[in-house]
Structure formats: C-alpha cells, structure tokens
Amino acid sequence: MTYRQASYDEPLLFDMDSVEACAEGLLPSAKIPDKIRRKSLDIPNLPEREVMKHFVRLSQMNFSVDSGFYPLGSCTMKYNPKINEQIARDCRATCLHPMQDESTVQGALQIMYELEEMLCIIGGVDAVTLQPAAGAHGEFTGLQMVRAYHEDRGEHRKEVIVPDTAHGTNPASAAMVGFDVIELPSKNGRIDCDALRSIVGGNTAALMLTNPNTLGMFEKDVLEVAKIVHDAGALLYYDGANFNAILGRTNPGKMDFDIVHFNLHKTFSTPHGGGGPGAGPVGVRKELEPYLPVPRIMKEDGRYRLSYDHPKSIGKVRAYFGNFGVLLRAYAYIRSNGGDGLCEVSTRAVANSNYLRKRLESVLELPFGGKRMHEFVLSGDKLKEKGIRTLDMAKRMLDYGVHAPTIYFPLIVGEAIMIEPTETESVQTLDGFVSIMESIINEPAETVRTAPHNTSVRRIDEVRAARDLIFNYRSLLDQRQREKGMKDSAGR
C-alpha cells in the first residue's frame, strides 16, 4: 500500500500569531451610537502568507472527487467537468444582484428559462421551479404544493406515506410541512402493493418514492403503485436523488408521478462543495402548476420577465430565484452532453454499478439478489465472523485512498454498505476497488479495527465530540484551560 494523506499539525487560525494591531481603524466609527457600539472584537490579524499556507494545508487534508474514487451511495459523486467551473465564475454571472431590473439580466433569465425547459423534457413534467436550494428543500417545496393542492379542493389530508427504504429527508420534510408520516414496510427490498393498499386512503396526501429505490432496485410495480395512490385521490412524489439511473430510459412523468425534485449537484454534475451548495428544482404536471413558488420566469416576444401574479402559489421557499451559480453549471453540463450524452450517462452509471456488484457478490452478501441500477447495497453482516464491522471496513478503505461508501443505510439491511460508482469511473478504478475490498477482508482484524492509519488523523473519538460540545475556538480555549488546571493541580 502506498497511499498516505497529507498530515499537518495545522493550528487553528486563532492559535496563530496575530500581528499587533495598528493604531488606525481599530475603533468602531463614531457614527455608531454609543448604546450599540461594539466594545471588543477578538479576531486575529494574520499575514496573508500564513493564511494561504493554512488553507492549502487544510485542502491537502481533504479527500475529494478530484483526489480519488468516492463511491458514496446515494450522493452521486461523479467527476465535475472543469469548464462548468470556469463558466460559473464569470463575473457576468457572479456580479448580478437579484433585484436588478429585468432589462439588465436577460441573459441570466434566459439560462434559467431554458434550464426549466430542459428539465421538463428530462423529467417528463409540464413546469419546473428552480427555487429550492437542495434536494431536501425540493421535497419541502413539493410537499407544500401537495398541501396546497388538497386544501384547494377543500380536503385536509394529513398523511404522507414513505417506504422504510426512503432517505431520511423524506419523513423529515413531510413532518416540516405538517404531515403525519406513515412508514410503508418493503417486501424483498421493493414496495409491497398489498401493504400499500391497506394503508392508503382518504387521509393520504401523498406517497414519496425513490425509483430506483435506495437499494438500487427498480420499483417494477411503479405503475400499479401510481394507480393505487391516484385512486385514493393522493399524489405521487418522486425523490430525484437517484435520477442518474434513469436518464433517457424512463422519467417520472412516464411513471405517473405528479411531483419530482431533481438534485442538480448529483445528476447534473455540479460539485457538492464539501456539503453544499446544491440545487433542488421541482417539476410538476399541469394540474399542479398553479401552486409553484413565485416568481415564475416567463418568455414573451423574446423577452424574459419574472411573474408574481399566481394567487394559488405556495409563495416563496427561499429568497430570490434559486442557487443561480449551481443552475448555470447544470445548464452547461446538460448542453455539453446533449440528449445522447445524458443517455450514455445513465447507461454507463448502471453498467458500472452492475459490474462492481457482480464482482463484489463473492466478497460480501448482496441481500435480495438480482440486478441493480446505479447503486447497490451489500451487507457487512458476515464481517462480524472476522471480528470486524462495516464501520471498520469503511475506515480501512480510507487507508487505500478511496472514500468509503455510505454505511448503515438503508436501515433494512444489516451492516449496510451502499456503493455508487457513477459513470465517470474507469473499469480500472472499479477493479482496483474490488482488490481493495478483497485485501481488507483478508487483513488481520486488528489492523482493520484500528483503521484508518494513513489519513491525516487516526480514528476519531466521535463520542467525545458529542459529550464535550465544543463548537468554536472560545469553548476550545476554555477546555484547554480546564485541562491545564487539572494537570497543574494533579502535579502539586
């Protein structure tokens, strides 16, 4: 093994030598009334040279898609073409104020309008809003529309059904919009239509479904599911987290969904930013269009304008129009690929996933067997015989220079390991990953249990973090002083 992540004893910015304050500019302006003038501000003055070194070192202690294989299931960590970055950093995109007069932002509105049109085609929907800032925020938006739709019909349906394999955001979003969450148990990894029939009814507002589901299995009965849901007067919501699997092969509209969110940072290759920003546009079929957030973007006589006059709209889910910088990257990605290119994306994503699944079936168990779409979930249950757990295996993978898959999700698989290779990885990379998993299984348990060894730090004490509750430098200083006090008194 040759991988070794950079490891610096990099101090916190606040622990660095602050340059002595200069005489001028230190006090708040006399124009700030005394009653609310700030008395002190404890922020260091650092030389630029030290600051740059600091951030370069931190970046070297951070694993990323550009550093290596990142098969984090459900997150679609594909390579992000660099041209999109270059485009999104253009001042003609970044130096626009959202309240500018429409006549001065025609280009930005055009990008958004055309992106909406392209997402309509990709999703098989009639109208799209780009406002939501992330996938979960898209769910929140879609469910607000579910609520508005039913209320508009004089109905107060209180329940949202989510499968037990659903992303945690689904039930959390439903609860935030004021719905009660009903969990639907799966059968052999898929939706059980009989179970669904038994819980769906006049109080059902919607069913939220990911297809393929979080096990990477296609819900073959999706059309029957749609019928059951619609017959009960409820709506069907598509969680677009796994859209990478179906591009150009099927779409939510064709599967009879009413509302869908897209995760642009997953499917459309806008980088994940270390946790964000993302973008979670929502598409709907015609009957739901009146409820979309405002403003809508309209095109009239070749001019684009923002329209607020939609009395049935749910209002706004965030300020302004959405994460424009992310939307622009997605626009560039879709235009680069074109229709055929996007079809190749899903084909290769599903092929890579199945190739890896096939090769790993002999290493670890694949619950529910069969084919998978863009991702698959292995069970690490048999690792226990070797005295290790899924967590240990995941940590050990980091030592080989690959990011660990998603672990312990979905909850219905014991010791779950959720792997999504994406379309951008070569067969060589996938083969390398198989070898890594095979080696880890044959390593002494102790080596694996105490992993990682080659990352910038060793295994982290997460329990201590939850106990100490230190979220900033001030609390950290307090803790250091307490510990020093204890040491001093012990020494006496």
Partner: protein
C-alpha cells in the same frame, strides 16, 4: 458503447438488458434535447448569453436589501478554487476530511465571535430560510400560535417565513416601526406580546438600514419569549453582538463575506443559538475532539438531531447546505483580520452617510427618510414615481436602489439605497447626477 469487459462480466450483449426491469409502458427512447456541444462551442454559446447581462461592474449599482457586493480578497478565490474543497461532499468520514471540518469549525468560531452565540451551525441555505427555521425552532422552545416580527424586516424574508410557518399553523404578526426614527415601536411591541407568542424577530440593522438602538429596552420587554435577531455579520464588527442584548438565536446572511451576489444564490445562511437550545437547533454542527493518538481533530456532532438519524422527529430536513460558502467566509475573515474588518465596516457607515447627505441637497428628494443611525443602507423619498426614477437612472448608466412602494406603501415613492466600500467617488457622483437630472 460499453467496455467489452463490462459486457463480458455481466454476460450481456446490449446495454438495454440493464434496464429491462423498467416496465414497457414506462420506457422512453432517449431525450429530445439539442445535440451535445464541444467545450469551445459551449463557451461561445454561454458567452453570447451572459453578454446580455449588465453587471454591477457595468453600471454603478446601489441595490442591497440583504445582498451586497463587497471587496473580495484574491486569496478567497484561490481557496474556493481548490477542488479538494469544492468536489468533496459532507464530511461523513471525518478522518479523511479534516481540512473541510477544520475550515468549518473556524467558520463557526468566527461567527460565534461576531454574533456572541455559543453555537453557530455550519450553514443554512440563506438568511430567509434561516428565519423560517429559527421560527420553527422557537416553536420547539415555547408553545404558542403567534410569531412577532418587526414590520421593518425584508419582504423577501417575510414571504419565506410565511411558507415555513404553514407547517405548524402559526400566525405572523407585525410590530410597527417609528415613522420618525425608523426604529422598532416598542410600545407596539409591548401591546402585542402575550402568552401565545412563541418568538419575536427583529433585524439590526433593519431593512431600512436603521440601527436598533433601544435593544436593551426591547430585550427586557420581551422577557422569556424566545428572541431572534437578524444581523449582517459585517455590521457586527462594529455593532454590539446580539448575545449582549439577550438574543436566543442569531441569524443573518453571510454570502458577501467572500463571494459575489450570484444573482441571489448560492448564499450563506448564518444560524447560531445559545447553549441551552443547542439540541433544538437545525443544521450540521462541527465539534472538536481528538483522534486515537490524542491529536486535535474535528467531526460532525449532535447528529441525532438530524434527518438521517431522526427521520420525521428531526429538528429539520436540511442535509445539503452551503458549506463551501462558509469556507469562503472563513477565508475572507482570516484574510482581512480584525483591523481591516472594522475599517471596512466603518467605511460602509461613512459612505452611506455621505451619499445620504449629498442626495438630501438635491431638490425634491428627501434623504434619509428615517432619522435613526444607519449602517450601509438608507431610504430616500423621490419627487416622482419611484419606478420611473429607477428607469431614468438606468438610462443614465446607473442602477438605483430597491423601490419600497409595493411592500411599504406608507412610505410613498421611496427607494432603498445601499453603499459599500467598493463604491468610488465616480459611482456616487453618477448616482447624484442621475437623480439631479430627474428633478
């Protein structure tokens, strides 16, 4: 075409076989989108579209309302260009992601210092959703049916708040402002407080750029009711931290600490709270700890509040946030340091006052409308329809401020103007001359 090795291992001859579980009736044949573009074609096409925009560089612009353009040190863009940061995801494996985690911990530290809060999370989508989440958090701290907000809060944020409160069927009630000073009307606040109020929200500086000076009186009137304060973090370099006057939750917008206005997104929602409320807080929090060798290390913590563990009982559904923007804010604050930060904040106050005075000398214009102290923004009264003033300014190559008429009809033909340290003497002159021409 798939690599032969994949076809061989899977024992298939065509990629179609991979998709045969999709029912026939649900299949589509490809995507009816334009053909793909080569990199050079794409660049040319997008260049042509972006050229239709007029940027804040092309015309002196005086728009604010929560989105501002400030100086960005070159270092910040260098840091944001590190793909080790921007192509990573949420640091689920902390041992391999110490860089991001430490950067976010430092962001939290800076924001804790500025706001005075014990815990600041590692970002929300923007200020408006931070407000929505803050109101929901208040409802977890205290039962009630009314949420009081100052009338002098951004209309954009009010609209988002309304959407967020629908889920708990709570009402928003406005507290008026004093027409002379522009500050919160404390008597109106006192008359509206009550047992059924589960939170109070005001902004400082408020939407009109006016600083709330009577914060201690406001705070003692509010008493035990959860108190949420919205603030521009830059103003906090020179204005008392809200912790000083009893805030339980502090929120704000932080995008302008290191990134541009981005046509309104991505932004950076700042969210902090007092220690006693930490477990009711939404969003990701980075905590400090040690590794197996006892070295300083960081990881996400208190995840039992979050959706992937708690599902429908989570404090919020938020997952993807605005982490990279928080890294930018960290790099920005680190580069400027205390002295330059205070200097820039002071410059904003002084430039705003200077511009306001110059406009007050133009016949027909009234500036500032409010007599309270201002930070970087102020409202003016116009002698003509505010929309026509805006259009006329654009004709002069200047972009005026936000028209207030629609949201605050009581102010008449009013416009909200924002200034920053980036506005040059020529910019100010261009605005003044543009307004003079309207007279």
């Amino acid at each position: 075409m798939l690599p032969p090795k994949i076809l061989e291992v899977l024992g298939i001859s065509s990629s179609d076989e991979l998709f045969d579980e999709i029912p026939e009736a649900a299949r589509v044949k490809g995507l009816d989108l334009p053909c793909g573009l080569a990199e050079s074609e794409l660049t040319a096409e997008i260049d042509a579209i972006l050229s239709k925009n007029k940027t804040m560089d092309d015309m002196p612009t005086f728009l604010g309302g929560g989105i501002y353009r400030h100086f960005i040190p070159a270092l910040v863009n260098e840091v944001l260009s590190r793909s080790e940061f921007y192509t990573a995801y949420t640091p689920y494996q902390p041992e391999a992601s110490q860089g991001m985690l430490q950067a976010l911990f430092e962001y939290q530290s800076f924001m804790s210092e500025l706001t005075g809060m014990d815990a600041v999370n590692s970002s929300m989508y923007d200020w408006s959703t931070a407000l929505g989440e803050a109101a929901l958090m208040c409802s977890r701290i205290r039962h009630g049916s009314r949420f009081l907000i100052a009338r002098s809060v951004s209309p954009e944020r009010k609209a988002v708040l309304k959407t967020y409160l629908r889920g708990i069927d709570a009402k928003v009630q406005e507290v008026s402002y004093d027409r002379g000073s522009g500050r919160l009307d404390i008597n109106d606040l006192r008359s509206k407080l009550g047992e059924d109020v589960f939170g109070v929200y005001l902004e400082n500086p408020n939407y009109f750029g006016v600083l709330e000076e009577e914060v201690d009186e406001i705070s003692s009137s509010i008493g035990e009711t959860p108190f949420v304060v919205g603030a521009d973090p830059l103003s906090l370099a020179i204005v008392r931290p809200p912790s000083d006057y009893g805030a339980d939750i502090v929120i704000g917008e932080g995008h302008h600490l290191g990134t541009g206005p981005n046509f309104g997104g991505p932004l950076l929602g700042v969210f902090g709270c007092r220690k006693e409320h930490i477990r009711k807080m939404p969003g990701r929090i980075i905590g400090s700890t040690v590794d197996a060798a006892g070295r300083m290390a960081f990881c996400m913590t208190l995840q039992t509040r979050e959706q992937h563990i708690r599902r429908d009982k989570a404090t919020s559904n938020i997952c993807t946030n605005e982490a990279l923007m928080a890294v930018a804010a960290n790099a920005y604050l680190a580069t400027l340091g205390r002295d330059k930060l205070i200097t820039i904040a002071n410059l904003n106050v002084e430039k705003a006052e200077e511009l306001s005075q110059r406009i007050s000398k133009i016949a027909g214009f009234y500036s500032p409308i409010f007599k309270g102290s201002h930070f970087n923004e102020f409202a003016i009264g116009c002698p003509k329809l505010v929309d026509s003033v805006g259009r006329a300014l654009i004709g002069h190559g200047v972009h005026g401020g936000i028209p207030l008429k629609q949201d605050f009809p009581e102010l008449g033909e009013a416009m909200l103007l924002a200034v920053s340290e980036l506005h040059t003497e020529e910019d100010l002159k261009a605005l003044v001359q543009g307004l003079e021409a309207i007279r």
